[in-house]
């Protein structure tokens, strides 16, 4: 219920929202949790395993219980913490993991079967009969498990990613963080202050404490305004720093629009930040922990600090007759604040016999709560006092087992926290994150005065490390109450006392785990699932490991903790993967002929990051094969034009250019004459083929290398490595010019005729023999011509500065069409090269040697080259290695398929009989049958042999004859002529 006169909500701005089909109203500043509590809505969820009723436990992102689904359809957002979700007009939220309704959930039957479903039960059963796991047990378990459901379609809203840089990142805007930010900012540092909450101020907004004589929240508000006014400060509310990474890099999630009714035009739902900070201050506060007792999970049982927060920040009393159960002084503030606000306190139960009342409420010192009553809502509690037992009627029990410093980020780089007996909890271990100071409650400093002072000190230490002088700032006056606590983890007794509320892990489970020798804290976690829920144990891990320490007879420090890992709180994949949806995943590279190809209705296919035309259909063609056959015919009979710009082009210049090429290629390039082109083979240092291509010598110290499309980046890096790292003494420079030049193959018997029409100088066979190159003038534009052929025909590649590519391509195609030729695409290019036995990365797939492709002799004996030594290893020159062969069908089945295996004719296809495999196939209109390339054991010497091709996957079984890979024009007269 709402309490008059309390809270920081704006009561002049009512907001209506829907929960579980009912319309409610709240106020600006409410979270879904505070608004529901204001309407006395208690049960909001069901637990994961036993589907027990769940109410709101906390007031922050650590909430394990109140997970709800917001929105519908593509906007469905499951597992939203009601304690973080701010309400907005039209917000629609509903319960999840309950069917048919939250109130009546059939899966709650699990709770009755709990004796059989304890820790690790599934490892011990469901093994019989075989095959039933997938068919029966697993589907049942999967359906019962899980929390919310995804909407099943792509979210329409966008998220984005961003970078930020600063001198000092302050994480948490409570008293410590605000002071750290102020000192650093006044000292001239670039400061980012990030806080998970929508309202900065931390606990000051949840308490009735004063700072410098003002209400804490008023002081915090003034600090925030002071900081906001400074140019060197960036305030980031609603921003969770999710992870600490190497080099002062932090991940952070900014929830940009979750509190708004829809994403504003052009806006985003979330932004994932990469913040690079020279120094950081962690001022993340502390999280309250629970005390385990029977049925301590009933809706209405809440964290004491959260009850205080609902009262002081949101003006909500989460019950009419409240009780408090604690083992520390701090929790008594809850009772005092409630009393001051006029809320009835039925009793305060403090496990410490010497506990003192701090207000006018009934105190049960040295007593414990032994059980909660009521099923869907808390109705009463049982007590064991120093004199006997009692039962108190209450609809809300505030529990505090003490506070755990929020040390999580300090553990992200494998740091382990240190046990601090004074607060019976863990504190950060100094130096866990390079450059990070810790301050305030996350450091175990629980009074406001200590937080303020530690914030200042952390800023000063950071500034000193930055080499900056600290500005002097007056320390505000605040309470400095000592933190008095006597550890109490669980109340002994019958029944189930709960630790991990979401995963339904009880004290018994932890004990049973220890009894079954899952005694290491990691084993216990994995066996019981303790701490593996969406809160990652924030509410229960310390308690669970204290109980494990007890069960195993070890101390808590010896028991150790499990590891906190990023992210601190969960990050939507849409934010972490922002920008990648659809085409955003990888850059798209387009050739200059792209538009013309698309206009010609060529299907564009991905070739790495590039797009290339598959074929250019003409009217009347029904299949791609018809187009392909026609385009092959252009090249064999007339002239074809193909964009080959995607091949890597590397410009190599300098006095030592030839030496570089001699080292990276197996064959010699220093002897290549100017104006000539040579085919080159490149090995990796491990002796296998890396790439092949042609390199042209344009001048005495000037070469231009072409690589395959796929290996362009790898080859470029390789050349840089050789020249920078192995031979820095060489005078040679390398530049990728792939995108500077558009390059077109003009191939076919009429290629010269076509080019003669566009070149300004005559194109004669004498001046331009096969494998020549040089500068040309293309209708007045300076270009380069290479007389090379990947089709086996008389052919050229004409390069021109990329800005002329589009017009040149259109011109060449038009001229070719006038000569009964035209453009050809990847399909035809592939057939043409298979007909000629030319290899691509289908053949040189990274596992083949020069010998495997019949090029052993290309490794020059006269010089060293990269990979030469390792290429001579025994295993790389074995005679029975699979070697490149041509393949043609010779039996009744006339088809070949790439990926098929080759085995001897009369045997079943078994792995021991595997003779090889097929890498490339195509129907050759020139030869009138399928042609293929493949690798067969010792294949170079087996031409003429007939073997069997088996493609189990496509149901093909054919007889194939091994032959020379060059099917067409083996003498090569057409290319030279």
């Amino acid at each position: 219920m709402r309490v008059a006169g309390k809270g920081l909500i704006d009561r002049s701005r009512p907001i209506s929202f829907r929960w579980d089909g009912t319309t409610y109203s709240g106020f600006q500043g409410d979270t879904l949790a505070s608004a529901l509590l204001a309407h006395d809505v208690r049960m909001v969820a069901r637990s994961f395993k036993y589907h027990r009723p769940r109410g709101i436990l906390s007031a922050g992102s650590e909430e394990p219980n109140a997970l709800v689904t917001v929105g519908r359809g593509a906007d469905t957002d499951p597992n939203v913490r009601a304690t973080v979700q701010e309400i907005y007009e039209g917000l629609e939220a509903r319960p999840q993991n309950a069917w048919p309704s939250l109130s009546f959930d059939v899966m709650a039957v699990n709770d009755l079967a709990a004796p059989f479903l304890g820790a690790g039960f599934y490892y011990k059963t469901f093994m019989w009969p075989g095959g039933f796991w997938e068919k029966l047990y697993e589907p049942l378990i999967r359906r019962a498990a899980g929390l919310g459901a995804l909407g099943g379609e792509a979210a329409k809203d966008q998220s984005e990613k961003a970078y930020a840089f600063c001198d000092l990142l302050v994480i948490g805007a409570g008293p410590a963080g605000l002071m750290a930010a102020l000192v650093a900012a006044r000292s001239g540092a670039d400061v980012i202050l990030a806080d998970e909450d929508s309202l900065m101020g931390g606990r000051l907004n949840a308490e009735t404490l004063s700072v410098d004589g003002q209400s804490g929240h008023v002081w915090a508000g003034q600090m925030v305004e002071t900081l906001r006014a400074m140019d060197n400060v960036r305030l980031m509310p609603r921003t969770t720093v999710t992870g600490a990474y190497d080099g002062g890099t932090f991940g952070a999630l900014e929830r940009v629009s979750h509190h708004l009714s829809g994403v504003p035009e052009g806006g985003v739902k979330d932004t994932f930040w990469r913040i690079v900070a020279r120094r950081s201050v962690l001022a993340a506060g502390a999280l309250e922990r629970h005390i385990a007792f029977r049925n301590n999970d009933r809706p209405g049982v809440m964290a004491a600090g959260a009850v205080r927060a609902y009262l002081n920040r949101w003006g909500v009393a989460p019950g009419k007759a409240l009780t408090l159960f604690a083992n520390n002084d701090d929790a008594h503030r809850t009772a005092c604040d409630l009393l001051d606000a006029g809320v009835h306190i039925s009793g305060v139960i403090d496990s410490r016999p010497d506990a003192q009342a701090q207000g006018d409420y009934p105190l049960y010192a040295g007593a414990v709560v032994t059980g909660g009553h009521g099923r869907k809502e808390l109705e009463a509690i049982s007590l064991k006092t120093q004199t006997g037992t009692e039962r108190l009627f209450t609809d809300c029990l505030a529990v505090s087992g003490g506070w755990n410093p929020t040390v999580h980020l300090t553990c992200h780089m494998n740091g382990r926290p240190t046990w601090e007996p004074r607060i019976a909890s863990f504190v950060p271990t100094s130096g866990s994150i390079p450059g990070m100071e810790t301050a305030g409650a996350c450091n175990g400093a629980f009074s406001t005065a200590a937080c303020l002072a530690e914030g200042v000190a952390a800023a000063q230490a950071s500034l000193a490390a930055l080499g900056m002088k600290s500005a002097s700032v007056d320390l505000p006056v605040a309470e400095d109450t000592p933190y008095a606590i006597a550890p109490l983890w669980a109340v002994p007794g019958k029944g189930r006392a709960w630790l991990d509320f979401q995963n339904d892990v009880s004290v018994k489970d932890v004990k049973q785990s220890a009894a079954e020798n899952f005694a290491s804290v990691e084993h216990m976690k994995r066996y019981t699932t303790q701490g593996m829920a969406t809160d990652q144990g924030k509410n229960s891990n310390v308690t669970a490991l204290a109980l494990l320490a007890d069960a195993t007879g070890r101390g808590i420090p010896d028991t150790g903790t499990t590891t906190f890992r990023p992210p601190y709180s969960p990050v939507p994949l849409a934010a972490l993967g922002a920008g990648a949806k659809g085409k955003g995943f990888a850059p798209e590279r387009f050739t200059t002929s792209h538009a013309a190809s698309v206009e010609a209705k060529a299907p564009m296919v991905e070739a790495g990051q590039w797009y290339r035309p598959s074929y250019f259909p003409v009217q009347g063609e029904r299949t791609w094969r018809q187009s392909c056959d026609r385009e092959v015919g252009y090249v064999r009979n007339a002239v074809g034009v193909c964009d080959v710009s995607t091949l890597g082009k590397i410009d190599i210049q300098g006095p030592d250019a030839a030496r570089l090429l001699d080292l990276v290629y197996t064959n010699m390039f220093s002897t290549l004459k100017e104006g000539r082109v040579r085919y080159g083979l490149m090995l990796r240092e491990d002796g296998y083929v890396m790439d092949d291509g042609t390199t042209a010598r344009l001048g005495p110290e000037h070469y231009v290398m072409t690589t395959t499309t796929a290996a362009a980046g790898q080859v470029m890096r390789h050349l840089e490595f050789v020249s920078q790292a192995l031979h820095p003494e060489w005078d040679v420079r390398i530049m990728s010019v792939t995108e500077h030049w558009a390059q077109f193959a003009v191939a076919g018997p009429l290629a010269r005729n076509l080019l003669s029409g566009v070149l300004d100088d005559p194109l004669t066979d004498e001046a331009w023999p096969f494998m020549s190159c040089g500068p040309v003038s293309v209708l007045g534009v300076a270009g380069r011509l290479f007389r090379i052929s990947f089709s086996g025909e008389h052919a050229y590649e004409l390069a021109i500065p990329a800005r002329y590519g589009d017009s040149l391509f259109r011109l060449l195609v038009a001229r070719a069409e006038a000569m009964a030729g035209g453009a050809y695409g990847m399909e035809a290019l592939n057939v043409l090269r298979i007909e000629k036995g030319f290899i691509t990365h289908a053949e040189i797939d990274g596992r083949v040697t020069a010998g495997d492709i019949g090029m052993a002799r290309m490794i020059s004996a006269k010089k060293d080259c990269m990979g030469k030594v390792m290429a001579a290893r025994p295993g790389l020159v074995q005679e029975d290695r699979p070697q490149l062969v041509g393949l043609k069908p010779v039996g009744p089945v006339k088809q070949l398929s790439a990926g098929a295996h080759i085995c001897s004719r009369d045997e079943d296809a078994v792995p021991t009989d595997d003779q090889g495999y097929i890498t490339s196939v195509g129907f050759s209109p020139t030869m009138g049958h399928f042609v293929g390339l493949g690798f067969v054991k010792a294949g170079l010497g087996r031409h003429g042999e007939v073997l069997r091709m088996v493609d189990h996957l496509r149901g093909l079984d054919a007889q194939v004859e091994l032959c020379d890979p060059v099917f067409f024009d083996p003498e090569g007269g057409r290319a030279r002529g």
Binding site: P78, N79, P115, Y122, Y123, T125, F126, M127, W128, E134, E138, I141, R142, R143, A145, G146, L147, L150, G152, A155, S159, Y245, H412, E516, N517, E522, A533, Q536, T563, P566, P567, P570, P572, L573, L576, G577, K581, G582, G584, F585, A586, E606, R684, D686, G687, Y688, H841, D845, R847, R873, P874, G875, G899, A900, H901, P911, T919, D951, L953, R954
Partner: protein, 417 residues
């Protein structure tokens, strides 16, 4: 104690008081026939098979932390037999068959779920490469189906078939592929080995390997010296450090591989999906979390933790492949230390030191190998000869070039995988 549904029922009715420890906590003895360094999945599996098949129970598994705390407890749980290279293909086929009888063998439900694995391809060339792989799998006696786009769409209707950067041409469907509950695999092997008499010794770090005259004599540990006739090194990412204690250098580089899980969600992904173009793979755990991973972080590391670029990259791959995943939240990330071999395939062999054996180089794929690694390493330790399925996995294959298994076709030298 035998586990069964009946036993669960009986214990449930009697207060669950009768459950026994899954394994003993023995003090180390002064001497064993065989000492295994590393109490991860492979070490525990080796112990199980040594005891079960070879009757060797005077065996100790030394673990510096807790059992199953290495890569077996931090992987993405995928089990498959879809290898192509001769040598690997037989081995992983053998492994999958062991998986299929593992629960019966161990009397432990490791939740081996043969839910089917789909490797997507995105070009004609990739289809052909997968066809080569699939044909090899079938010839090996395993299962494979080549799906076209429609076939993939039928199984995985939630992928983006229209806007995605790399369109889905189809997939190689391996029905017997799937997942298992990774921790349970370690525990099941541990329980069985312990029951059969093997000593599993936790919090026992090996600090030295004793070698005299080229023969291994035992190990030094944080719990005192232990003599041994044979020593097996099964230390995954720490293999190089362990071998260095015997003066050996292994062809291993240690790298970091991250993995991720989302919050629990109702069933939405029923298969294991592998998206090669994005170095991304994903499945849904029985608890509802989407478990996914990607490539190595790509730098040498012993830190067992990664950095943001890789985490972002896998999330980006997820968003382009299955944008419906956007509102799932990454709950946790973790990492393991991978023992990367030059060719990406494992090494299982004797060493030049008599009685010292090595089992390493599992790269980022050791989980699915767990049973067969244990089975074949036990064979090697017990008989001195490699099991037929590991005959090619020699330690000297990089020097000789014989039997290199470059499964990923990225090379047979370091840092190309």
């Amino acid at each position: 104690m035998r586990f069964s549904g009946l036993r669960v029922l009986k214990e449930g009715l009697t207060g669950n008081k009768g459950w026994e420890p899954h394994w003993r906590n023995p003090e180390p003895k002064p001497e064993y026939d065989i000492v295994l360094i590393g109490g991860g999945g492979h070490g525990l599996a080796t112990a199980h098979y040594l005891a079960k098949i070879h009757g060797l129970t005077n065996v100790a598994v030394l673990e510096k932390g807790y059992l199953g705390g290495g890569n077996v407890g931090r992987n993405t749980t995928i089990v498959r037999a879809n290898y192509m290279m001769p040598g690997n293909s037989e081995f992983y086929s053998h492994s999958l068959k062991l998986w299929e009888g593992l629960e019966e063998d161990l009397n432990y439900n490791v939740m081996h779920s043969q839910r089917g694995l789909i490797n997507l391809f995105h070009s004609d060339g990739q289809r052909d490469a997968f066809a080569r792989r699939g044909n090899r799998m079938i010839a090996q006696g395993d299962d494979a189906e080549l799906l076209d786009t429609a076939g993939v769409r039928k199984l995985l209707p939630y992928l983006d078939y229209d806007q995605t950067r790399f369109p889905i041409y189809g997939g190689l469907y391996h029905k017997r592929g799937g997942t298992a509950r990774h921790d349970a695999v370690a525990w099941g092997f541990a329980r069985s080995a312990s029951d059969r008499g093997v000593d599993l010794i936790q919090q026992c770090e090996v600090t030295g390997i004793d070698v005299e005259g080229g023969v291994v004599k035992g190990v030094q540990t944080t719990r005192g010296p232990i003599r041994a006739k044979k020593v097996g090194m099964v230390a995954a990412g720490r293999s190089g450090q362990v071998a260095a204690m015997a003066g050996l250098t292994l062809p291993i580089e240690s790298h970091v591989l991250q993995a991720f899980v989302t919050e629990g969600l109702k069933p939405c992904i029923d298969h294991v999906i592998s998206y090669g173009m994005g170095h991304f793979y994903i499945s849904q755990s029985d608890k509802g979390g989407l478990v996914f991973g990607g490539d190595l972080d790509m730098y040498s590391s012993y830190a067992a933790r990664g950095n943001l670029p890789l985490a972002e990259h896998v999330a980006e791959a997820a968003m382009t492949l299955m944008p419906m995943i956007g509102h799932a939240r990454m709950l946790r990330s973790w990492a393991g230390i991978m023992d990367m071999s030059p060719d990406g395939s494992f090494i299982m062999d004797k060493t030049d030191i008599d009685g010292l054996f090595v089992n390493t180089g599992w790269c980022y794929g050791g989980f699915k190998a767990t049973p067969a690694s244990g089975h074949t390493f036990a064979h090697l330790l017990a008989t001195g000869n490699p099991h037929p399925t590991t005959a090619q996995h020699r330690l000297d294959r990089f020097r000789t070039g014989v039997g290199i298994m470059d499964e990923e076709a990225t090379g047979s030298q370091h840092n190309l995988h």
